[in-house]
Symmetry: C2
Subunit: 496 residues, 2 copies
């Protein structure tokens, strides 16, 4: 069938005229699609239902009238693209207020993975999980169910994927309100006996070597769902507050933080083509040396100062807390407390009592132990905002306060994690910005566009960055940040 496209007829297929009947365009519309759509123009057509058609089988070429062709095509191409429907998942059944009792009597299909199978004398219990929630569907079957032979022959093991049809019935057990009385079971994919995630608990270290399978455990499944809920809540919050999402590049020729640790991204084209070097950048890294790919949550507010910045960060974290169930009620709320570093001059004693390995001195950054002391002990487990840091320990672009020695920076500290958010009002005044660059011996030319913005209608503005992985870590309680990331990357580790 390796036929070339050789001219054979003069047919010019114009299926539009024939297929239009399947769409809901107004009859008087001569062109169904504006080929060069104008920018920001409202569609003259009100929302309409959507139909699609599938062309299958062969067309016969040759001269014929449009209407003949239309009839031909209608006959041969008339089947539709299937409608896309959200599938019923276990969370849809069991996640409601009555935990599934409203679906009693319904016949449903559950497709998922076997967590456990217990065969009793007359009845077999299979716990199935489909990834939609922590809860399994308990499936109860007797020997008269279609496909029971697969259970009997030992094919349905932990880790296997199955398709089960049955009726929702009230459960006899105390662990769930409903269960599935199985009519039919189909093994979709068997699971080798070497399946590494058996019922007994396996260590997180071990699971890091099985990153492709660990979402099937309770913990990592939950972390994935919390992560997802936090990400969506983030988008929703900023959209609803008038922010515009911009995907900014993580590769830049400028060293944003002056941190000095730089990456070089190099295009290595194999074989004969020359290697092309592309620019140096400053990919953000976490304290643990992980490449922090997901610092994207970096809102910037125009016509705003540090107080607006704090208020925004606080409202954002507060909103996350309101998304009660999916996030797991980790309790991000509680009052935030803001204080200036100045306060250390006056109640320093309270911190030194602790015997920190590093003393806090004016001009030194807070260490993790200080941050945790502040939020976990001094402020009784509340998030705390520390503001107005010495300018020497902060980035060049932060706005200088009138005292000449501090900048309008703020960090939000939370228990267990320490710094979750770091933000600042940015320096909008050209002369101050240039002054800082010079002090830090940074080349003005490299930052030409950043300075340029101060030439043309500069405005007070502020922003913050949130470490999304830390947020996930905070919300889920996982101890190691590697376990908050689906496929963590460290130098030398990029297997998956």
């Amino acid at each position: 069938m390796a036929t070339a496209f050789v001219p054979s007829t003069t047919l010019r297929l114009r299926p539009y005229s024939t297929l239009r009947c399947l769409s809901f365009y107004p009859k008087n519309l001569t062109k169904p699609y504006p080929v060069f759509p104008p920018l920001i123009r409202r569609s003259p057509i009100s929302p309409r239902r959507f139909f699609s058609s599938v062309i299958s089988g062969a067309l016969h070429s040759g001269e014929r009238t449009k209407s003949e062709l239309a009839e031909k095509q209608k006959g041969q191409m008339g089947s539709k693209v299937g409608e896309f429907r959200k599938k019923l998942k276990i969370v849809d059944v069991k996640g409601g207020p009555d935990e599934g009792l409203d679906r009693v009597g319904l016949m449903i299909v559950v497709a998922g993975w076997v967590r456990t199978l217990r065969a009793q004398s007359s009845v077999t219990f299979i716990e199935v999980n489909d990834g939609s929630c922590l809860s399994n569907m308990q499936c109860v079957m007797t020997s008269d169910a279609e496909g029971y032979d697969q259970v009997k022959s030992g094919l349905i093991t932990t880790g296997a994927s199955i398709w089960i049809q049955g009726n929702v019935v009230p459960s006899q057990g105390s662990k769930q309100k409903v269960e599935l009385k199985v009519n039919k079971i189909v093994l979709v994919g068997k699971s080798d006996p070497s399946y590494p995630i058996q019922k007994k608990r396996v260590s997180r270290e071990f699971l890091r070597t099985k990153a492709h399978l660990r979402p099937r455990t309770n913990t990592f499944g939950a972390v994935a769902r919390v992560r997802n809920a936090l990400a969506y809540a983030t988008h929703k919050f900023f959209q609803e507050n008038g922010f515009i999402w911009i995907s900014s590049p993580i590769i830049t020729a400028s060293d944003c933080e002056g941190a000095g640790e730089q990456f070089c991204v190099t295009t290595l084209i194999p074989s004969s083509r020359e290697a092309v070097e592309s620019p140096v950048d400053a990919i953000p890294k976490t304290k643990d040396g992980l490449i922090d790919w997901s610092q994207m949550i970096e809102p910037e507010l125009a016509f705003a100062d540090l107080k607006d910045d704090m208020a925004c960060a606080t409202a954002y974290l507060h909103i996350l807390n309101l998304w009660g169930q999916p996030i797991g009620g980790a309790g991000l709320g509680c009052q935030q407390t803001v204080f200036s570093l100045e306060i250390f001059d006056n109640f320093s004693g309270c911190m030194v009592q602790r015997g920190f390995s590093l003393l806090v001195k004016w001009g030194c950054d807070l260490q993790s132990e200080h941050e945790r002391y502040l939020t976990e002990e001094a402020f009784g487990g509340c998030p705390v905002i520390v503001s107005d840091y010495p300018k020497e320990i902060k980035a060049f672009y932060m706005r200088q306060n009138d005292d000449g020695r501090t900048v309008a920076a703020m960090d939000m500290l939370v228990p267990r994690i320490g710094e979750l958010i770091g933000g600042s009002q940015r320096e909008e005044r050209l002369e101050y910005l240039e002054g800082r660059l010079d002090e830090l011996k940074l080349n003005r030319d490299t930052y030409w566009w950043y300075l340029d913005l101060r030439h043309y209608g500069s405005v007070p503005h502020a922003g913050f960055g949130l470490g999304f992985e830390r947020l996930v870590q905070f919300a889920t309680g996982v101890e190691n940040i590697r376990d908050a990331i689906p496929f963590p990357r460290t130098p030398g580790s990029a297997e998956f």
Copy 2:
């Protein structure tokens, strides 16, 4: 003031007991924040209002009773973090159905950038844009407005940022329903006369060298807003259909597409520390050689085949179309048409009539000119899905059809752009997958985890990838994909 934290007193500050009065926790809660929150537990506390307190000024250390301390702190730390409120923007005023007439009489503040200024004998018109929509706010002022001297002295020029307070009044002009009668104007940031975006049209090529300023033009501001709306619609669609967002790494040691063009990310740590090489990856690139950072829209559907995949892609694009206004009514709708590559065997003539520079032959991939012909001409400007490609031109992981020579792959083509979406059912059968790896001389060991997934409960699954930049290009009508990206990156260009 570089005071060290030296022990001076035995004070252990416990502000929680004093600050709790500001929060809405139940009185009987002894700990306001669960330090190690359990996973997936509903908060026992119903949604509560949020209060924050600012500690400012100095605390005096020393022994005192808790209640004394509480009173002291209440007095000195009692101010709150400001409430975060969405700011009124021009789109909020003018974007409603009556285009602002409902706000007539209100006094509002507009903060934004001057587009134009026209001084007439008795009245001055300033067009201000705040980036929230295409439309400017026409601000009308006479010499009695506070700050008028700044206008008179020529400080308020195109590109300057200003703060204007005034009353919404019906407009005399025909271009808008309302305008602002100015009471007060404040210059926030002046604009140098060299401001490159003057009223006369500047070329897109020129603007690419001014990526930090081009969002202030009508076109690029609109592109940014469309881009934002498309991204949010994408998140919303997939969330509402039960998908879980996973941030997968773009750095991997495996060559996913077998394309061979690889990047190497190298950590270059300056000064004395050693350079650490980290893994080779396969960063996706567009046909134009742009690094395609934003291929993240890559849904995967479990328990799904190619038809489900097509249905999902079609429903997704359809949803984008329903988001009428913000996306600009580009008309993504219209019926989708699916046909198999087989059809070429029968109506090849219709394509060859065109005199393509490359003939379409079985076993060759469609070129851009063929894709555009199909969607723009053969199907009258409708999106078209082409499916079941020869396996030789597709990636190893695509599922082999029963005919032994094609794979369950599909591409959605749209006018002007060509391929917008590419998807496939994935090969879930271990023996077929291994066979393809061997055929392509790919090392099985490299793909150990991908094969592993076929050992433990493999399921039919499908997915697609959408080039987000192309979607933006398609929805906005910009000709060059570089103009659909805020800060495009090409080898050798990473200035911003």
